[in-house]
């Protein structure tokens, strides 16, 4: 039995494991053993090593004594000169451990009957070599790679039915055999071996463990490569790090985890909380065109599918960043590639992993809304400050009454909508379960997961249904690997992901904006969420929702309560892979075929009633006047919509979406080593993919057509002696988006690497103890992109509507009908020249390892020049009369960046260990060619030299001191509205006395962060482990949107209702009594941007340049010790948290949300989890 290092337990362990294994291999290869009488311990006897440590042989014997029945008798000091031995945490076979003790020298030992082992040192061992006996009988010993004998290995004579099994000492004997026979050695979990008998009669067979095969390789495009030989820029994230973040959406765990990946999350609404992420800085414009290519098990998926992947199912997670790494994906990989493989079964007994988590989720920040009294006072101020002769909206009496705690709340409503609508926390659950194992014929990995995320919306008990967001996800994955024959393998992967969403109507897909934004948009003193029933409506079995007199205001509570939406989606994917080993043709040649079909389906159903709305009866109470006497506490409700309201729920329709993807790939892979020095590899791969949406976007023909890709790609690798590496890649891609003449693009790249530490001269330097690894690698190449963005899919096709809107209306009698005909409308001129966007990418990296690679540092720099970026032509004058816009491949951007990843791991003592890691990504990009006009007149409006996501706006000087300053400053009339003291004053850059479009300048940092970093550490002491991970972003700006924040302004789509007041505005605005030129909000107004546009311009006034550092993740885990009596179960419990602390100079809302601050907030999560590992 063996302890399996469950990845969820200690995410850093596997690396250490690999590291230690290497040391062992080294030790055993250089040692001479003197065991002649076989092993003393049973194969099954294992010794538990609690901690990574370096021990003396005496200490090992102590261990063996403690955990076995044996005692040791030996002369003191006998091991004095023997080297100390490095033990890794885990379990080790006693035999192996013992051998370790004797590896340094030659010892002899005798086992007596009382399980006492007497050890003696001998000075000379005489090797006994048997004379070859010319008999048809051979003997041999089968060992593993460490030299341990393996009992129970099946030895069969090929072509015959007979065979033997190795004995306890791994020995076997076969009689009556001829030199031409072949013997096959096979054992569970080991790679089978076949040998020719020949003339040897004494055989030494070494079987390799199958699981060792994954060590020291890196997942690369369409395959794996020895880690040492990789020259391109590939970052692999330790899967454990992703798994330790308590989220059911893996995209939210990515930020800060690896170099080169920029990620941020702008809303936390369940089902809608996908984080945005880019690889390096995407230099294209637009939203969709920056997304990296995401591949799960070689098949392209979208972000949604990634977000539904259970972190526990992930075997490896890498991102490919430079041209050489992504070259094989050609046009698809221009924005980088995310490469994920899912777990597969391993030969052996079934292993069951169970993980259950229960999380408490709450907003990281809560937007503060001013109380209703302040609201009314400030509303009056907003009116009077602009027009002193106007009448205030709320009378003093009204304000006083509302302030009265004993008031009638129906007559003097004061509603904190956010409070009404939301609660403080939600409880979420997750359960992951997997079973894996396998035998010689097949291996399997079957995993299922279930999660339920709940929203933080309030519900009213009177409703028969729960309208809070309830988002359930189920996933099922089955990976089965079948060995069809010795040379043929068949992998079948089936996966399904199912979402069940239930929540308020319109919430899903809106980024959680609905409820939160409406809470801010709703007038706090116009009506209560629900009226208490008056005498006339005392009977009402329904909620008496408040509204204004004609029912045209939005009561967000009513909207939330009045219905719900069922939204269900499913993604099914079936994949078949055929691996054919063609060693028969030439060693090292393999063929692979992958076929994948996936289908996505989604539908939503909405059920709601049209709420009954009420207001205080006209005549008794007018929200603007106070005709109701304060003494009166009677009130009468007025039903606003008795004819259209209903209390019975009805079906109100939804949407359906379906799409289908088919993918096929065939590849030929060749890898071989010649003369032990020349590693040669080649790969050819052809792929095809088709995507077809059942509900084309905008119901356009062009979107109804399948999206297809076709590619041929190749890679040639050459390595010499583990020192020099070269690689040439190419992708040759076809895209249906271009005209025939340009449909295929060729994108080559190459890379070189040099492992200096493997050079003789480096070894001679003698610094290898300090600088243990020193590798230089670099790549250069082209990458294409066919996802150009812009309004059209096919720029090469013209789009002419021959039946556009009717015109004419000729005829002298309207009653007889007029003569009209459709018109012709041209929306796109066919442009056959529109072509691939091409990026030239260069990458240079160092891989440094110090102190036996305890410390590793990988600095990396890159330079990308992206040209042919599609851009709208700006120099088309109106006089040309084009009814459409022209596009061309004009723009060029350059981006450069630096990435550093640092890892350090060490043991402090036997019980204590730690790992530190950190990464830093700095990326900046710049537009170098841009089709723009007006820059001769106003050079500062030029985009050239700025980031593609640079924002432009006015430069706010300060708030106007007084009306005199307004009169004597550059005219801002063109911006609109009456400008007064306390309004924003802009800098007249060109000093022409007018503030207009030529006074716009680049302001702030780009909107996507230029710096992203993460650092953290893990620390373990005995059974306890703690990890912390900080993540942060810097160098980015965002803009508050005054249109969404301005208090008292009418809200679009509502009548008679005005936006609420943020406490921050109430506390920090300019007023006549507090003429703060730098107040955070200008002079109040109840007019929105259409009447007061001056203050609503994009400017430095609303700009927030910020950075943040947050405790992204923290985990404390405890592994229940084996000694506690639980024999076959590994148990670990842990408490973890996400987004626990945030440090930023911006505190209005979560700084990661940027300008989207009124959306459903990001969540802070406290999580309790328990893991079981059944063996």
């Amino acid at each position: 039995m063996q302890i399996k290092f469950n990845n969820h337990f200690f995410f850093f362990k596997e690396k250490i494991l690999q590291f230690i294994m290497k040391i062992f291999i080294l030790l055993f290869c250089t040692s001479v053993f003197s065991f002649s009488s076989g092993d003393i311990f049973s194969q099954k006897t294992k010794i538990v090593i609690e901690k990574n440590k370096i021990v003396s042989i005496d200490e090992i014997f102590d261990l063996l004594r403690e955990q076995t029945d044996f005692t040791f008798i030996y002369q003191e000091n006998i091991f004095k000169n023997s080297p100390k031995i490095y033990l890794k945490k885990g379990r080790i076979r006693a035999n192996k451990l013992l051998k370790k003790c004797f590896s340094g020298d030659n010892f002899n030992f005798i086992i007596n009957k009382n399980n006492k082992i007497i050890v003696n040192k001998i000075n000379h061992v005489k090797k006994t070599v048997k004379e070859p006996i010319q008999e048809i009988q051979i003997t041999g010993i089968v060992t593993d790679i460490d030299g341990q004998p393996i009992p129970g290995v099946t030895v069969t004579v090929l072509g015959e039915k007979r065979g033997v099994i190795t004995d306890f000492d791994g020995k076997f004997e076969i009689r009556k055999i001829e030199p031409t026979d072949k013997l096959k050695f096979s054992f569970l979990g080991m790679v089978s071996q076949t040998i020719d008998v020949g003339n040897e009669t004494q055989l030494k067979i070494t079987l390799k463990s199958k699981t060792d095969a994954l060590d020291e390789v890196t997942i690369v495009a369409f395959g794996k490569q020895k880690k040492e030989s990789v020259v391109s820029s590939i970052t692999t994230v330790d899967v454990g790090n992703l798994q330790s973040i308590p989220t059911s959406n893996i995209t939210t765990a990515l930020a800060g985890q690896m170099t080169g990946l920029v990620s941020y999350q702008s809303t936390g609404a369940p089902g809608d909380d996908n984080a945005q992420f880019f690889i390096r800085n995407a230099t294209s414009f637009g939203n969709n065109v920056q997304s990296p290519l995401i591949l799960i098990d070689n098949v392209e998926v979208d972000v949604r599918q990634l977000s539904r992947l259970s972190p526990d199912d992930i075997q490896s997670f890498s991102i490919l960043k430079d041209a050489a790494a992504t070259a094989l994906y050609g046009a698809r990989g221009g924005n980088g590639v995310v490469l994920i493989t899912t777990r597969e079964g391993k030969e052996g007994k079934a292993i069951i992993d169970v993980r259950y988590e229960n999380a408490l989720s709450m907003p990281t920040t809560k937007v503060n809304i001013a109380d209703p009294i302040t609201y009314m006072n400030k509303f009056n101020e907003a009116i009077l400050t602009r027009n002193p002769t106007a009448s205030p909206r709320y009378s003093l009496n009204r304000i006083e009454q509302t302030q009265n705690p004993n008031r009638n709340r129906n007559v003097y409503p004061a509603t904190d909508w956010l409070d009404e609508l939301t609660k403080d926390y939600a409880i979420n659950n997750r359960l992951n379960l997997s079973i894996s194992g396998g035998g010689e014929v097949a291996k399997y990995y079957v995993a299922g997961s279930y999660s339920q995320d709940n929203g933080i919306l309030n519900i009213d008990k009177i409703n028969k249904w729960n309208t809070n967001i309830k988002f359930k996800k189920y996933t099922l994955r089955s990976n089965v690997n079948i060995n069809v024959s010795n040379s043929t393998k068949l992998n079948v992967r089936l996966s399904g992901a199912f979402d069940d969403y239930k929540g308020p109507i319109g919430e899903l897909g809106a980024g959680g904006r609905n409820t939160y934004q409406q809470a801010l948009n709703a007038d706090p003193v116009l009506f209560p969420a629900v009226y208490d029933a008056d005498d006339a409506f005392a009977f009402a079995p329904y909620l008496l929702f408040g509204n204004q007199e004609d029912g045209r205001a939005v009561n967000p509570y009513a909207r939330l309560m009045s219905g719900y939406e069922d939204n269900k989606s499913s993604t099914l994917s079936a994949q078949i892979e055929l691996h054919q080993n063609l060693d028969a043709i030439t060693p090292g040649l393999k063929l692979r075929f992958i076929g994948n079909v996936s289908r996505y389906g989604n539908f939503s159903l909405q059920r709601s009633y049209n709420p009954y709305y009420f207001s205080i009866l006209d005549g008794d109470y007018d929200p603007y006047e106070d005709s109701l006497t304060p003494e009166s506490d009677g009130y009468e409700l007025y039903p606003i919509n008795p004819e259209t309201g209903s209390r019975f729920i009805n079906y109100s329709g939804g949407q359906q979406q379906v799409n289908s993807t088919i993918y096929g790939e065939i590849s030929a892979i060749y890898n071989n080593t010649f003369k032990e020095k020349h590693d040669v590899g080649a790969l050819f791969v052809g792929t095809m993919r088709e995507f077809l949406a059942g509900n084309p976007e905008n119901a356009l023909l062009e979107n109804s057509l399948p999206k297809r890709n076709l590619s041929l790609a190749g890679r040639f690798t050459y390595g010499y002696g583990g020192k020099y590496f070269a690689e040439v890649n190419f992708g040759y891609n076809g895209s249906e988006r271009f005209a025939k003449n340009d449909r295929f693009g060729f994108f080559p790249s190459f890379g070189l690497g040099w492992s200096v530490h493997n050079e003789k001269f480096f070894e001679n330097l003698g610094i290898d103890k300090v600088l243990s690894k020193f590798k230089i690698r670099g790549t250069y190449g082209l990458v294409g992109n066919d996802n150009l963005g812009g309004p059209n899919r096919f720029y090469y096709l013209s789009s002419v509507n021959l039946n556009a809107g009717r015109a004419g209306n000729w005829g002298n009698d309207v009653s007889l009908g007029l003569y009209n005909r459709p018109t012709i409308s041209i929306s796109t001129p066919g442009n056959r020249e529109i072509t691939w966007e091409i990026t030239k990418k260069a990458n240079l990296a160092l891989e440094l390892g110090f102190f036996n690679n305890k410390l590793s540092i990988i600095p990396e720099i890159y330079h990308e020049r992206r040209k042919n970026i599609l851009q709208r032509r700006s120099n088309i004058p109106a006089t040309l009369g084009l009814p459409y816009e022209l596009y061309s491949n004009v723009q060029e951007n350059v981006s450069t960046g630096l990435e550093v990843a640092v890892n350090y791991k060490d043991n402090i003592n036997d019980d204590m260990w730690f790992v530190l890691r950190g990464n830093f990504t700095y990326g900046t990009s710049e537009v170098i060619t841009y089709d723009e006009i007006g820059t001769d007149k106003a050079p500062w409006i030029s985009r050239i030299g700025h980031s593609p996501s640079q924002n432009f706006g006015f430069i706010a000087e300060h708030l106007f001191i007084d009306d005199n300053e307004v009169a004597n400053s550059a005219s801002q009339a063109a911006l609109g509205g009456d400008v007064m003291a306390g309004d924003i004053k802009y800098v007249d850059i060109n000093k022409d006395g007018v503030i207009n479009q030529f006074d716009i300048a680049p302001i702030g940092h780009p909107r996507t962060p230029e710096i992203q970093f993460g650092f953290g550490g893990s620390f373990g002491y005995k059974n306890l482990d703690i990890s912390l991970f900080f993540q942060g972003q810097a160098n980015y700006s965002f803009w508050l949107n005054p249109n969404e924040l301005a208090p008292f302004t009418p809200v679009a789509g509502q009548v008679g209702s005005n936006r609420a007041l943020l406490a921050w505005v109430a506390d920090n605005h300019w007023s006549e009594s507090n003429r703060d030129l730098y107040a955070e909000w200008p002079r109040l107004s109840n007019v929105n941007s259409s009447g007061n546009a001056n203050n609503f311009q994009t400017s430095t006034y609303w700009m927030k340049t910020t950075s943040y550092l947050r405790l992204k993740q923290m985990e404390i885990g405890f592994t229940i010790p084996e000694t506690s009596g639980l024999k076959n179960v590994g148990i670990r419990t842990y408490i973890s948290g996400t987004n626990l602390l945030t440090f930023s100079n911006f505190d209005l809302w979560d700084p990661e949300m940027g300008g989207n601050g009124l959306a459903y907030p990001l969540q802070k999560v406290f999580n309790f989890g328990v893991q079981f590992n059944f063996k």
Binding site: F746, N809, I824
Partner: protein
Amino acid sequence: MRYIKNIRINILCFILMSYGLVSCNDYLDIFPGDSPEIVDAFLDRNESEKYLMTCYSGLPNDGNLTASLPLLGCDEIFYTTDDVQFSASGPFPAPFRYGYDGANTSGNPFMNFWDGTNGGKNLWDAIRHCNVFVEHMPKEVGGPVNMDESEREQWIAEAKVLKAYYHYYLFTLYGPIPIVDKAVSTNAGVNEFKIYRAPVDDVVNYIVNTIDEALPNLKDHRNINLAIETGRITKTVALAIKAKALVWAASPIFNGNSDYNVVDNRGIQLFPQTEDQTKWQRAADALKDALESAESNAFALHVSDGSEIRGANTSDATRYRLGVREALVLHWNEETIWAKYENNGSQTIQQWAATYYPGTQPQGKNVFQRQAPPLHIAEQFYSANGVPINVDNDWISNNWYTNKYNAVQVGAENNTEALQGGITAQLNLNRSHRFYSTLGFDRGYWEGLGFEEEDFKHLEAKAGEVSGALGVRGINLTGYYSKKVCGINNTFTNPGQGTGYQHAPYAFPIIRLTDLKLLYAECLNEAGTGYPEVLPMLDEIRSRSGILPVKEAWDNHTSLTNYDNQSGLREIIRQERINELALEGGRFWDTRRWKTALINMNTPVRTWNIWGETVADYYNVVTKLRPSYSFKNYLMPISETSLVNNPNLKQNPGW
């Protein structure tokens, strides 16, 4: 290179096809069939007709309040669309951005017909369509084969005239404009896009020549199928456009306007700096041609016969009051030379002008009583004697003029003008029939509405009254109502509930016969023709509204004889035009053309106190707005974007 490419494709295909997957040549060719291109629009007569419609569809919607610069860009009406939010303390409402509140800027021009923004149509777009049409129609370049040659020529001619009209429209807004006579290829160099503004005279000549070119192939109005062709360009329409272009060329704004001195990069003066009197004669000649053509095609002044009114006996007064209104709102009446029908426009302008009246429930959401002419528009109309009220002997001797803002009880002698016994302003009584044709007012009658003459309804316009500012819906800002633009018998299907306002749709006139006649009178006067020859043209139009001939009116009711000299007659003609074409947009064009807008448009906007609930409160003159119209407002600004795009364009002065 191509060879290598093919090899690559073949390798790829070999691999993929060997597994029976795809055929490369077809795999990426996903677009089924062909995609339509411009030439497909000229495949046959049917498609070409659609393209011709496309050329027509560029016509500005002058009759649609939301898109009409002549209606919105002028001081004739004011309105608010914000019926709910608007309150007594609120600001004077938009959208009078043109020349009023400084919101018309070169950065963001109001009603921009150059770039097609802020309510304006992109006329260059329309011009390009015409050019494409003209260039593609001939058979020899791939035009439709299945159509008659004469029809083909006629269609091309129509497109040419439309092109000329679009140039004309831009010309009246911007003055010198680039001439775009062909559809420039998008592949042409950027320098070909950077065209210059042509001097005024070149623009006019281009319009004239283009129309002259088209004339022979156009149909005469009398030869068209009225049921399906009314509204197309005919010879008369083309001649009228040509004449109007020449009138603009002769008018003060473009004829020796030294205020506007613009020299472009090439050193070319865009505005003629010296006046050329002969331009008036050239315009007069063109108008003569147009009028002759109109006459020969049976266009005539519309005179009401009272048949629109229910009941047998319609008085002369009523018929006079219907005259000019019918000439506007009767769909294609005999004096409509060219009009554009737009369903939305026709509905909007009528519903926004319509009002409630006693007996109706003011809740109908499709009656808005918004279009509100200010006081100075009400004052510009003649007295009952057909002379300006400030020179009318009766008005002076009775002190009506001095006391014009006083509230008076309506006596029997004025009982057709306003509700007898009711109280209204002195200003609203003893006015010419054309005043009552055009405006509604407190206690004034609203002819028609489906009622017989004796049942004609009057308005009650004080605050709280049915047509007044209720503070809820349908606010008239001045106390005057745009009666003229409403169909005669627009009714409520159910007046008691105020629902279902029915309107009679009509094509909004682009050119009316009276417009041409008055222009002819103007040109003759300017060209030096004596008043005896000029006055009959005015008198004919006045007589339709029951207004005395000029000489008789002036001689008998004023102490003036200013009709006998050129400048005096000029004033008379101008006032006649303003009154005749009131609320139709004429004032917008004419005051700019005459260079009088600086005075006219700067008149303070005065209204009755619409929030007054009593006579004493209501009949107070309130100055709502003091416009700041400046000389730059005569011409529209070219947007900064366009100037930046094409540095060869010179901005109009002042912007």
